[in-house]
């Protein structure tokens, strides 16, 4: 009898971002909170981008529910995410973050926000592309995971027509959404065991929450579904620049420990190498 010569295969851990159960462990939120994760991460990114650029943030959230589908779109008036950064985000072997190594009173520092947002719709069963529009370019990102667990991306980018270009960044995604009130897990829909999960998602509460903590920002919400439409706009209550720490300000050495400064120093060394 011939002997089996076993091959040692390497499996990317990127697949963790595209499996609902593993993703849930990664972000620390149950699967029915995934839509909330997308909204929060995208609005955090939008506010940070605007503040860093010295622009008073104008952030729009649109949610459209149609049968068992939900479309979420978040837009801002920041400088727009550069095309190179979008492509770097698709490298799941690295973290792309301008905050992870710094210690400052800034919003989330996970360094994988957009990676998570790309993974969530797929993990919930969507096969529609996530679309990022910024700096005149429309990026369409459709992830897929092969049976061996390797992650692939169907990625395309196209110059946008001048008349459809908007300042800032718009991220649009679509995810399945089982009707509210049903059992959380309704039916497995693909080979990875992902399932339609009823999202415990109150986008208006999230938008109001962001409005509560950001007096300098304009936040708008547009929700459509089941024949109704909600629109709420929160305007800034602060005249002039808002007195808060912004991500472009220097950080203080008093906010670091030896260990956290080592992270910053060696991140710089690694980047220069």
């Amino acid at each position: 009898m011939s002997k089996l010569q076993r091959t040692t295969f390497e499996t990317s851990r990127a697949a963790e971002y595209f499996d609902a159960r593993q993703l849930s462990a990664l972000v620390g939120v149950s699967q029915d909170g995934f839509a909330s994760v997308c909204l929060k991460e995208l609005v955090d990114n939008s506010l940070d981008a605007c503040e860093t650029a010295g622009v008073a943030p104008v952030v729009g959230v649109k949610v459209e529910r149609e049968d068992d589908l939900m479309r979420l779109s978040v837009s801002d008036n920041g400088p727009g995410i550069p095309a190179g950064v979008v492509r770097k985000v698709l490298d799941y072997n690295i973290r792309v973050s301008d905050k992870a190594a710094y210690r400052s009173p800034t919003r989330g520092a996970q360094g994988n926000a957009l990676k998570t947002v790309i993974g969530i719709p797929y993990a919930l069963g969507s096969r529609e592309p996530l679309v990022v529009e910024a700096q005149g370019v429309s990026h369409r990102i459709r992830p897929w995971v092969d049976p061996a667990g390797a992650v692939h991306f169907d990625y395309s980018s196209a110059e946008m027509l001048l008349e459809s270009r908007e300042p800032g960044t718009t991220v649009s995604l679509e995810m399945p959404n089982a009707p509210q009130g049903e059992a959380a897990t309704v039916a497995a829909i693909n080979g990875f065991g992902s399932a339609h999960v009823a999202q415990d998602f109150d986008p208006l509460h999230w938008v109001r929450s962001f409005a509560a903590f950001n007096p300098h920002a304009t936040l708008s919400y547009q929700g459509k579904g089941e024949g109704s439409e909600d629109v709420e706009i929160y305007k800034p209550t602060h005249e002039g620049p808002f007195k808060k720490y912004v991500p472009s300000q220097p950080t203080s050495p008093h906010w670091y420990s030896s260990e956290s400064l080592k992270v910053l120093v060696f991140s710089h060394i690694g980047r220069a190498a």
Binding site: G28, S209, T237, H254, S260, I269
Partner: protein
């Protein structure tokens, strides 16, 4: 410290010197006051409550700045609006809402009682608005905002909700 160090790359083989660099930088700079962290403020919360709930009977606001056991500064601000009907609880860290109570697991002590977390404290004070934890009790006719600002918050969970108040 690090004689002749002119580039960060010099630390590559002298990792322990980073501590010296930190101490030198701290000695050469003033520690920022907690005010530098920023805060939202009473006026905005009042406007926010009126915008969301219409009629507001009264708003109470408190803000406190201090340092954590780790030495890191923090500012905690808290606003409570008395309403005609139950409102909501809004919790945030560094100008961003959280998924839940950031002080869950932290004991908050007041002059009359102590309780676990913001929700527990409000519950004890019969001032917990509509939340999942208020199922056993009629929610109070209030809306509450609790906001913590601190550099480098450490979290006890991957959802970045529960703050480690003892952490460095």
């Amino acid at each position: 410290m690090g004689e002749g160090f002119t580039h960060l790359s010099a630390f590559k083989d002298n990792e322990e010197k980073v501590g010296e660099l930190l101490r030198a930088m701290q000695a050469a700079t003033k520690e920022p006051k907690p005010k530098a962290l920023g805060f939202v403020g009473k006026e905005h919360f009042e406007t926010f409550f009126e915008r969301v709930y219409g009629s507001v009977i009264e708003t109470t606001y408190a803000r406190n700045s201090s340092t954590l056991p780790s030495g890191l500064p923090y500012t905690f601000e808290f606003a409570l609006a008395h309403l005609d009907e139950p409102g909501h609880l809004y919790c945030g860290i560094n100008f961003s809402p959280t998924f839940g109570d950031p002080l869950e697991g932290t004991t908050l002590a007041g002059p009359e009682f102590k309780a676990g977390g913001i929700q527990g404290f409000l519950n004890q004070a019969y001032a917990l608005p509509s939340t999942e934890r208020a199922w056993h009790r009629t929610p109070a006719s209030v809306a509450v905002v609790a906001h913590i600002v601190t550099p480098a918050p450490l979290f006890l969970d991957r959802g970045k909700t529960r703050l480690d108040m003892e952490g460095a």
